[in-house]
């Protein structure tokens, strides 16, 4: 597959702030690519560099093989769905969606027809005559999507598009966005701080931290084989063990991560399961189908507070203060690289 978007050594510094720092990235055509990171990690700036709203202070960006150094946003083959949707308040929904075509000089009848089709695609037919102020958040989000898609961009950039929606609507839009992307075969570049969203929707996930690209890979790579402590903790949450602790558990002397769901509960006199950890249950959190256990371990792990996720049935009868024996499969300890 050809690269749709390629970043080579791209940096964007605002004075002393390194918003994006030496990022190399390749996004394949037709891919659903998620850029994941906490706020201030540089993921949005990276998207804005691709859209052309910011200029890199170093490095080059290519969109479909063409260098876009100095090319303004209005001359790039990408369209953006903004976080606040950025709908034009003085235009009706139809005019908003048709705006990109109007700018390109498409005749009124043709652009209105295309805009209607785009609105139908996002299930918003019938609202053409409304002003954005008269729409709900979810409807505005769809208008923003239609307004970008109607231009048939070669890649669609989405800046936290679902961030302002409530949970139910967000989950629904995740499914719709994904099927829309599959249907159109478009390249989607999707910025989010929600690791669940990134893992469930994307083909490839890029994890950002402090302006640097920490890891790129398929969701399973990111989750099961995190490159360092930051990725392990940010994506899915993990127990982080220092090198000495890992060595005591029979792993190579190197920092390791241990996923909460890899931990099991065993009876105190079970001779088979190794390694074994003993600790006191500090807190038991109800999480629907699972229970989250916070366990303060005994010596020699007295500095470690483990989080374990157990099926509800396995956690029956537990109460804070109880002494528990925990175990996990040795290969669940994943060695981590430097930060």
């Amino acid at each position: 597959m050809a690269a749709a978007i390629r970043l080579a050594g791209v940096s964007c510094h605002f004075g002393a702030v390194r918003a994006v720092d030496a990022v190399d990235l390749e996004i394949a055509e037709g891919e659903f690519f998620a850029m994941l990171g906490p706020s201030g990690s540089g993921k949005t700036t990276c998207l804005r560099l691709i859209a052309g709203f910011e200029q890199p202070t170093a490095g080059t960006i290519e969109i479909f093989g063409e260098g876009v150094d100095g090319v303004p946003p209005y001359a790039r083959a990408v369209n953006t769905v903004f976080q606040d949707y950025a709908l034009f308040p003085h235009m009706r929904v139809l005019e908003n969606v048709a705006y990109g075509l109007k700018v390109k000089g498409v005749a009124r009848a043709a652009r209105d027809a295309a805009a209607r089709a785009a609105l139908a695609q996002v299930a918003l037919d019938g609202l053409e005559g409304r002003k954005p102020a008269a729409l709900s958040g979810g409807q505005r989000q769809r208008v923003a999507l239609a307004r970008a898609l109607v231009n048939r961009p070669r890649a669609l950039l989405l800046d936290e598009p679902l961030g302002a929606l409530d949970l139910k609507l967000r989950e629904q839009m995740q499914v719709e966005l994904k099927s829309l992307q599959r249907e159109l075969g478009l390249t989607f570049v999707f910025v989010t701080h929600d690791q669940g969203e990134a893992l469930s929707m994307a083909d490839q996930v890029a994890v950002f931290d402090h302006g640097r690209l920490v890891q790129v890979g398929a969701p399973a790579d990111i989750y099961e084989r995190p490159a360092n402590a930051f990725v392990a903790d940010f994506v899915g949450g993990a127990n982080l063990l220092v090198a000495a602790e890992a060595a005591l558990l029979g792993a190579p002397e190197q920092p390791c991560s241990l996923r909460p769901e890899a931990i099991r509960l065993v009876s105190a006199n079970d001779p088979y399961n190794q390694p074994r950890l003993v600790g006191r249950l500090v807190d038991l959190q109800y999480q629907g189908a699972t229970r989250r256990l916070i366990v303060a371990l005994d010596a020699p792990f007295e500095r470690l507070v483990l989080t374990a996720a157990l099926p509800a049935r396995a956690a029956e009868g537990l109460a804070p203060g109880m002494v528990l024996t925990l175990t996990f499969a040795r290969d669940a300890l994943w060695p981590l690289g430097p930060a």
Partner: protein, 319 residues
């Protein structure tokens, strides 16, 4: 600890004690009473002192002055209003409206880039400096500024001197030789009146335009660019329509302030009268209050028309 807490509780006044407490209870339970109390003074002021006296003045325009005795005859007639359309009076109206329109147009052109820069680019100290620089002229007396302009524009003033020093005397002479707007010197021509008006009312245009531009989110401009609009088109399609309420507000200020002013044309400019001066003369020296009232009706009617037209054009849709 427990005893201390008990003391604090006991010290709290029991509910319903004291007239002040009863008053605040009443105001809390009945927000309408509070609203009424808050609104009464301004409503009385606006309703009685302001609007009623304005109405009393305007009613005067329905009376007429007896041409022989010069005494006001209190019998309703449209004769005074019709007098506005006599050539001498109508000239005054046309001159005032033309000047107000020209000043408004010039202020629009001058104010927009300044307001745009302040709203979209300036931050921190630069923005504070902007407010200071725009507001500062408003702190000094208007008369001082107008007289300063008279000196600047006088035949022996700095503008003439500058024209002589830079060998552009011919340009200035050519400008002053233009019929109607020219004259013996800048300070005695329409150009002078226009420049002075444009200067004194400029802040009243900058501030509302800046406030309107401030409210346009940057993401809208980015979105227009993202959809393929070059800066010029983005300006026409997005920035200008959204700034229109501010432009309308600013132009109402500059237009109506120019239309009613009687000091600037008296100090800087020729001897031709403006509406404000006509009102002053008719109600003062000439003792023709009905005609003065009729003249004051003109700016009100024009502004009403202007607002109606602006509304029709959708200037307030984006509010």
């Amino acid at each position: 600890m427990a005893a201390g807490a008990g003391v604090t509780l006991a010290a709290a006044p029991p509910a319903g004690a004291g007239p002040l407490r009863r008053l605040s209870d009443l105001l809390y339970r009945r927000p309408a009473v509070l609203l009424g109390l808050l609104l009464a003074p301004p409503v009385l002021w606006l309703g009685l002192v302001y609007l009623a006296s304005l109405a009393a003045l305007l009613v005067q325009s329905l009376f007429a002055v007896d041409p022989f005795s010069g005494v006001v005859v209190y019998r309703p007639t449209l004769a005074t209003l019709a007098e506005l359309f006599q050539p001498a009076n109508f000239d005054i109206i046309l001159r005032s409206v033309g000047m107000a329109a020209a000043v408004t147009a010039a202020d629009l052109i001058l104010a927009f880039p300044i307001a745009y820069y302040a709203a979209r680019h300036a931050t921190g100290r630069v923005k504070a400096a902007f407010y200071l620089l725009v507001m500062m002229p408003l702190w000094s007396s208007y008369l001082v500024k107008v007289y300063a302009w008279k000196l600047l524009l006088a035949k022996e003033g700095i503008v003439s001197w500058l024209a002589a020093a830079t060998a552009t005397q011919d340009l200035l002479d050519g400008l002053l030789a233009v019929p109607v707007i020219g004259g013996p010197s800048l300070s005695t021509s329409y150009i002078g009146t226009f420049l002075t008006f444009t200067y004194v009312w400029l802040p009243f245009m900058i501030l509302p335009v800046q406030a309107a531009l401030e409210r346009v989110p940057g993401s809208l401009i980015e979105a227009a660019g993202d959809l393929g609009a070059a800066p010029g088109q983005c300006f026409r399609d997005i920035v200008l329509p959204l700034a229109l309420p501010g432009l309308a507000a600013g132009s109402i200020f500059t237009f109506s302030l120019t239309l009613g002013d009687y000091i600037v044309p008296q100090i800087v400019g020729g001897s031709a009268l403006y509406i404000g001066q006509a009102v002053l003369i008719h109600q003062g020296t000439a003792g023709n209050v009905p005609l003065a009232a009729a003249f004051t009706l003109v700016p009100i009617a024009i502004m009403a028309l202007y607002l109606w037209g602006a509304r029709r054009l959708g200037a307030f849709d984006a509010l």
